[in-house]
């Protein structure tokens, strides 16, 4: 029989790896593992997943920011909406049925997955619609793609719509405590037209701040248990730092396919919770 701390550590390395590649927090791995395998109380599992989100974000963003894969200006601008949304979500939490929310967002995620799968066949470098706000904020950028061995320039579009989607994404994470990255990446990829790797790296940059906005509450309520959170934090950090070394070398198409699969899994998980 293995020990709790070692097993949990290694599972969280995988969660950190997946989270850093896809711009999500790893809660979809951490929460079921803690509750189903280790029989940890759901509240402590959610507290640990908040830790996991912040660890994934900071662990990988250190590298993505330095390599200029993260579009910091886009990320910081959108944080205005995600943080405000998170507070709104925490306040309206009692007003709406969680079950209804799970179904609604399960459907939205399934729809995003289909759209992103179709986006696979779209010409990535086709011209994007002009966006005055993106011009003014100087959001357009370029990154060096190691997989393709060349610089890729991109223009950002639909900034206002993106801001609206981020408000919704922030609200969902405030309401359900999960799934913020799963909504952020499609918003940046489909609406704002960022390259896939820039979308996941920028989402990764942002999720730490959204989670930090609610972390204080979980901490004060005593839902961040050091014995559960320590292996999670350490494992996820190691996995995220590892993932951040790999992402620059992976192709946008591969990341997109991986993301679509994970999005479908999360969507099914949410629909199940809404119906069950």
């Amino acid at each position: 029989m293995g020990s709790f701390v070692v097993e949990l550590f290694f599972i969280c390395v995988v969660a950190g790896l997946a989270g850093s590649l896809l711009g999500i927090g790893g809660g979809i791995i951490v929460v079921p593992v803690l509750t189903l395998i280790f029989h940890v109380d759901i509240r402590l599992a959610i507290g640990a997943s908040i830790i996991s989100v912040i660890a994934t974000s900071s662990g990988a963003a250190a590298a993505y920011v330095k390599e200029h894969l993260t579009n910091m200006r886009v990320g910081m601008f959108l944080e205005v909406a995600t943080t405000t949304g998170a507070i709104t979500g925490a306040y309206v939490a009692g007003l709406v049925s969680q079950k209804v929310l799970y179904v609604v967002f399960g459907v939205i995620l399934a729809y995003s997955a289909v759209q992103m799968f179709r986006g696979h066949f779209r010409d990535i470098e086709r011209p994007v619609p002009k966006d005055a706000l993106a011009d003014r904020l100087q959001l357009h950028d370029a990154y060096f793609d190691e997989a393709e061995g060349r610089e890729i320039r991109y223009k950002v579009t639909h900034t206002k719509f993106g801001l609206f989607l981020m408000y919704i994404a922030g609200m969902v994470s405030g309401l359900l405590g999960i799934g913020s990255g799963a909504l952020k990446v499609p918003a940046m990829d489909l609406a704002m037209r960022l390259p896939m790797k820039v979308s996941t790296a920028t989402s990764n940059f942002m999720i730490g701040v959204t989670a930090a906005a609610s972390a204080g509450v979980y901490f004060a309520r005593g839902e961040i248990d050091p014995f559960v959170a320590a292996p999670v934090a350490a494992g996820v950090l190691v996995g995220a730092v590892g993932g951040s070394r790999v992402l620059p070398r992976l192709k946008n198409g591969f990341i997109r396919s991986l993301f679509v699969v994970v999005l479908l899994v999360i969507s099914i998980e949410m629909l199940y919770k809404g119906v069950a």
Partner: protein, 155 residues
Amino acid sequence: MARKELVDASQVMGDDASSEALRKQLERIHRAESVISAVLRIGVLLSLTVVVVGVVVSFVGKPGTYLHSNAINKALLTRSSNYPHSLPAVFSGLSHFQGEAIIVFGLIILLATPILRVLVSAVIFALQRDRYFVPVTVFVFLVLVTSFLLGKAGG
């Protein structure tokens, strides 16, 4: 880094930008990225170190509790948050070199890192006199502070 000099003028500054202004803009972006990356890296390394030290201290203190999943599950189910979860409790635990308090202190460093990142960005943008991103980052910082205060009041 050389690769950043490849960025086209029209991408960053608009089509009528002079190359000198572009070079300065790129330098500013690069400097901001280095500082923010360093903040994140230091926060992560510091928190990881403190958490690991805390785990080792806890393990030395009571090896049975932390080694086997049965024992830990039992411990998790029976105790109801008797670990420190307020700042005074954490600091009093630290002064007694308690493993749990050391772990929680490491986790607090982790939680504080993204917030510090926002604050540092605000300072960088202020130094660079960026008229759009100073209000943006200051606003985000204030929202984070508010959410902490609301959390404290409500939780």
